[in-house]
């Protein structure tokens, strides 16, 4: 029994070691208890050479040990040295088995029998110390492991990887280089993984590098095999090694034994903590992943802060100065007051915990606007989300009459339709009085929608109402739409899914809220595509109105979300609103006429089908070449290269051709760009005009190149200074005229320290006059069109 420490820190991960370093530096008596013989076991067990990210970028690091993105080895070395440098009191091989409180003093019992006394305890044990294990016979056999240290250590083995999360897939891909790998996925698809990993695993499966069992569960593990329960019955897979990556959960039993309460029985639930990270047991603090903050930087900041709180110094969180700057234009500008006001006034933000709200606000912009200021314009391509804190904004619902305005007050949100559909803004929004609004980027909102249920529910309900009001029943008061909206539901479809089939009974209709569909009909035993329907339109009303079976089949052209509206609710709405009824019927007649015309031109339908198959349907601006006009002069490529530092972003010759319509390899500026989904420095943006471009903060990681299904992004060295012909001729400077700027190309030309960056079509934004490729086409063969214009392309060519 020794002295009583001021602080005992359990776990030496990023949070724990940051706390210990700060305690050591501030001269607070402390002990850092680590179960293993090294620091930060979770990161120690990362795959060798793994690149560790330092997100979120905007968050400053506040700790007495440094940390920046880099290789696992570099980071661990750095921490070891610094912990030694500050003379932190680390006790290795100290597995804490129990924490009890005796009056004002905690007693920590260790596995080796020792007992440590401390006035305060910081639990920084994370989740990884408690990996989920297989729960079947044979789970403890020696060839079953739950971690993978160095994938290159295994060679010519047959390895079964269980678990299709990010960790499992990263392991499987790394192992597949020199082993036969079989991946076991419990569900029928890869649902919860990063986009980059999805691309990698899909490619690996296509190439045959990895074999997958979907919808399979482990039944039993034998000496050299694994027995699976699959959809088609039991399967026995012979293997040398089994690696199970099943995630981790809070070591609940231990945490509860310390007296800490969990909010519910859910396996994934985490203990609740106060804003000073104190649990329901006074003096017992929880930081890092166990408290719900899994990022390294967050945990390190919390480690620093928790020591300050314990010694009685209530410092503001690390992001305080950033938020102060964000709120500088507000009166009063006190961060805590503003956050409290936001939480009280705006229902969408209400259910976020304090740290989530701070994060959301860090990503958002604060706009203080005078009456009449425009927030965004109709047809802009922006996709951020807005919330109103004070004052009112007006939505101009009629494009031709700006005086028709719907006013939204404090607490309301708008701009969610651009967020969902990725299409142009459907209305102009102006400040109706002096107001304060927050603009939150699409990425942040999507993360919140995925992680916070109540945010999604609130958004969905209001969004359905707005979408119905905008696209289906303009001018109909909300009260009349209540019945319809309440019974409506959101349905999701994947590319090629049938939304409804010809001959089905028609008892509902769909309003397409994102994505697009094709309408086809069976004529003479063959499917003829009649039309392409982009988001913002409704389908399936024909069968409803005529009380007949479906006259056509509607398929999703790519990932599509619809609002499914019940037929009865829609009919009763029509009965109450004669103008709406007249509008819908007029559209109905128009559609019948258009369908008849298209049936006479099956060729046009084939072209639509071809373009959809090429993924053009999700584009907003597509380069199409009419091969009957193209003289193969490649002036388009030359123009692209000349206007973009010598690198052409389009490959005219590559890409498929149907009839005389050629889709070259060139960016389509997708409505939900795949390339944007996983960009670490957030360097890919979309302008209000719709162009998707990459800015100078690109780090050349290649995620976007992999994520683009159309292979239109390439990694290239940044453009060099262009030397004129004489400096090349006389001094050998730069590449020869017309020669590509290759790394160490002819003349030993060297790019030096420069690294490759991602380049793609930016639609020649910044160059007056529009896309250079189109303007440089001498014969008018190259054309940029949006999918809405397909029909005219198809009709002309057909």
């Amino acid at each position: 029994m020794g002295d009583t420490y001021k602080i005992a820190i359990v776990g030496s991960g990023p949070g724990g070691l940051s706390a210990a370093a700060h305690a050591a530096k501030s001269g607070v008596s402390h002990v850092l208890l680590e179960r293993t013989d090294h620091l930060s076991d979770t990161i120690y067990k990362y795959q060798k050479g793994k690149y560790v990210m330092a997100t979120p970028d905007v968050l400053p690091l506040r700790a007495d040990v440094t940390f920046s993105a880099g290789k696992r080895e570099t980071i661990l070395d750095n921490w070891n040295k610094q912990i030694e440098g500050v003379k932190a009191n680390v006790r290795y091989k100290s597995d804490v088995t129990a924490v009890t409180k005796d009056g004002a003093v905690f007693k920590l019992k260790l596995a080796d029998g020792a007992v440590i006394q401390a006035e305060n305890v910081v639990l920084a044990i994370g989740l990884q110390g408690n990996l989920n294990k297989l729960r079947c016979e044979g789970a403890d056999l020696p060839h079953v492991q739950y971690q993978l240290d160095d994938p290159d250590a295994y060679e010519a083995e047959t390895i079964v990887v269980i678990g299709a999360g990010d960790a499992g897939i990263e392991n499987a891909i790394a192992l597949s280089k020199q082993n036969t790998v079989i991946l076991i996925n419990r569900s029928s698809e890869f649902a919860r993984i990063k986009q980059g990993n999805l691309t990698l695993i899909t490619n690996a499966i296509e190439k045959g590098d990895i074999q997958v069992y979907h919808s399979a569960e482990t039944a039993k593990i034998e000496e050299n095999a694994i027995i699976l329960n699959t959809a088609d019955g039991q399967a026995r897979v012979v293997c040398d090694r089994i690696i199970a990556r099943l995630g981790a959960a809070a070591p609940r039993k231990f945490v509860e034994s310390c007296g800490i309460k969990f909010p519910n029985e859910d396996r994934t639930s985490l203990p609740e903590v106060s804003s000073t990270y104190e649990s329901n047991v006074p003096g017992l603090y929880i930081i890092g992943a166990l408290g719900g903050y899994p990022l390294i930087k967050q945990a390190m900041n919390q480690g620093y802060e928790v020591v300050e709180y314990i010694v009685g110094n209530p410092i503001a969180p690390a992001d305080q100065p950033l938020l102060e700057r964000k709120f500088a234009g507000l009166k009063p500008a006190n961060v805590e007051d503003v956050l409290a006001e936001i939480r009280e006034v705006i229902p969408v933000w209400h259910s976020l915990n304090p740290l989530q709200l701070r994060e959301a606000m860090l990503d958002s912009d604060t706009h203080v606007l005078k009456t009449g200021a425009t927030i965004f314009k109709r047809n802009d391509y922006t996709s951020s989300f807005f919330t109103v804190l004070r004052g009112t904004v007006g939505i101009q619902i009629d494009a031709n009459d700006p005086s028709k305005v719907v006013t939204l007050g404090p607490g309301a949100f708008f701009g969610e339709m651009g967020l969902i559909s990725g299409r142009r803004r459907s209305a102009t929004v102006v400040a109706a009085s002096d107001c304060v609004v927050f603009e939150t980027p699409r990425r942040t909102m999507l993360k919140l929608v995925q992680s916070v249920d109540s945010v999604r529910r609130t958004l969905d309900q209001v969004a359905i109402m707005r979408q119905v009001q905008t696209h289906l029943a303009p001018g109909v008061p909300a009260a009349d739409l209540m019945e319809l909206v309440e019974t409506a539901e959101i349905q999701k479809f994947k590319a090629g899914d049938v939304i409804f089939a010809q001959g089905d009974k028609g008892d509902h209709m769909h309003l397409i809220r994102s994505g697009s569909c094709t309408v086809s009909m069976r004529v003479g035993g063959k499917d003829v595509v009649l039309s392409y329907v982009p988001s913002g339109n409704y389908i399936g009303e024909m069968a409803l109105l005529a009380d007949m079976p479906r006259s056509a089949t509607v398929k999703a052209a790519h990932n599509t979300e619809t609002v499914c509206i019940k037929g009865d609710a829609f009919k009763s709405l029509l009965d109450r609103s004669p103008t709406l009824k007249a509008n819908v019927e007029a559209k109905f007649r128009q559609r019948i006429k258009a369908n008849e015309q298209m049936q006479k031109q099956p060729e046009a339908g084939n072209i639509i089908e071809f373009l959809i198959a090429q993924g053009v349907g999700e584009g907003t601006d597509v380069l199409l070449i009419d091969e009957s006009l193209c003289v193969h002069c490649d002036n388009c490529e030359k123009a692209c290269a000349e206007t973009h530092g010598g690198i052409s972003r389009l490959d005219r010759e590559a890409g498929p051709t149907f009839a005389t319509l050629h889709v070259p390899t060139s960016c389509r500026h997708c409505e939900h760009p795949h390339c944007m989904s996983d960009c670490p420095p957030n360097a890919i943006h979309r302008t209000p005009g719709g162009e998707v471009y990459i800015d100078d903060s690109c780090i050349g990681c290649g995620n976007c190149e992999q994520n683009c299904p159309y292979k239109v992004i390439q990694l290239a060295y940044p453009p060099d200074e262009k030397f004129n012909i004489f400096s090349w001729l006389l001094f050998g400077k730069g590449p020869a005229p017309g020669e590509a700027m290759t790394y160490k190309g002819n003349n030993g030309y060297d790019h030096g320290e420069k690294t490759k960056r991602a380049v793609k079509c930016d639609m020649c934004k910044g160059i007056p006059g529009g896309a250079s490729c189109v303007r440089a086409c001498p014969t008018g063969a190259a054309l940029r069109v949006s999918p809405e214009e397909f029909m005219s392309v198809a009709t002309l060519s057909g």
Binding site: L624, D626, E627, S628, L629, C630, V631, H632, C633, N635, K638, A639, E642, T643, E653, A654, P656, T657, F658, T660, C764, I767, P768, G769, S772, V774, R775, A776, C777, P778, T779, G780, A781, L783, V785, E789, S792, V793, L796, S797
Partner: protein, 273 residues
């Protein structure tokens, strides 16, 4: 949606050219100069200035084409106007000469200009006709893919021929090693090769009487026939692409020569005034 250069902007530049031509012809018919009509009358000078200006403007197209990302007018506008006004130039220059031809520097200019214009018309014919033929010939495959398929067939051919008699093997190997696509401009333009080793190998295998290796022979034959068909299409592809370019080797040098002759023509006219 896509619009050919000929009908571009509802024939805007055709209309311009027609107006220019009609006005020139009209005035030429009305005008009663002293003596025979020639370049020295007031109308002759006017038409000469227009023709000279047109020549310089037409030649500027070569520079404009290579200036990327500049100007408000699209290149298609330029080309459409280049074609119609270039055609009108033939008429205006002829009127300017008053139909006088002789063995002198002035007529050399006229001949050079006419060669340039006619080669341009040939080029236009190629531009209008061949893209479609090119696309039809490719049947949705790119040249690269076709070459890839040939490489694959060659691998098969080599493998099958290895098990067969020496003469067949030699013919097959020759097909995989010595078959040429493209070559000189003339070879490209011909579009076929009467000494094609692949055709010869196919003939040899077809006419071979030896009864051995029946199945291999058939396998070899089908591959050689497939390769021959691909070669035919690739050679046609090369031929058409060559045609789309080759006329420029007349059009461009002659247009430069025309400009040089134009300068000489103008200088001599004023020198001997």
């Amino acid at each position: 949606m896509h619009e050919s250069i000929l009908v571009y902007r509802n024939h805007r530049y055709l209309k311009w050219a027609l107006v220019l031509a009609a006005v020139s012809v009209g005035i030429y018919l009305i005008d009663r100069p002293l003596g025979a009509p020639n370049g020295g009358t007031w109308l002759g000078y006017t038409l000469g200035c227009i023709a000279g200006g047109l020549m310089i403007w037409l030649a500027w197209f070569g520079i404009r084409k290579r200036r990327y990302g500049v100007g408000k007018v699209s290149l298609e506008d330029w080309l459409s106007a280049h074609i119609y006004l270039g055609t009108a130039l033939a008429l205006i220059a002829t009127l300017h000469s008053g139909f006088q031809v002789g063995l002198n520097i002035h007529s050399i200019l006229y001949v050079l200009m006419m060669v340039t214009i006619i080669s341009g018309m040939v080029g236009l014919y190629f531009y209008v006709r061949y893209p479609l033929l090119l696309t039809e010939n490719r049947k949705g495959l790119s040249t690269e893919v076709m070459l890839g398929q040939i490489a694959e067939l060659d691998r098969d051919v080599r493998q099958i021929a290895m098990t067969m008699d020496d003469a067949t093997n030699a013919a097959a190997l020759k097909s995989t090693q010595d078959t040429i696509v493209g070559g000189t401009v003339f070879q490209q333009l011909r579009g076929f090769d009467e000494h094609c080793p692949t055709t010869m190998a196919r003939h040899f295998v077809e006419s071979s009487t030896s009864g051995d290796h029946g199945p291999q022979r058939r396998q070899l034959l089908t591959r050689l026939i497939r390769k021959e068909d691909l070669l035919k299409r690739i050679r046609r592809d090369v031929q058409l692409r060559c045609l789309l370019r080759v006329w420029l080797y007349v059009h461009v040098p002659f247009s430069v020569a025309t400009l040089a002759a134009l300068v000489t023509h103008v200088v001599t006219v004023f020198y001997y005034w």
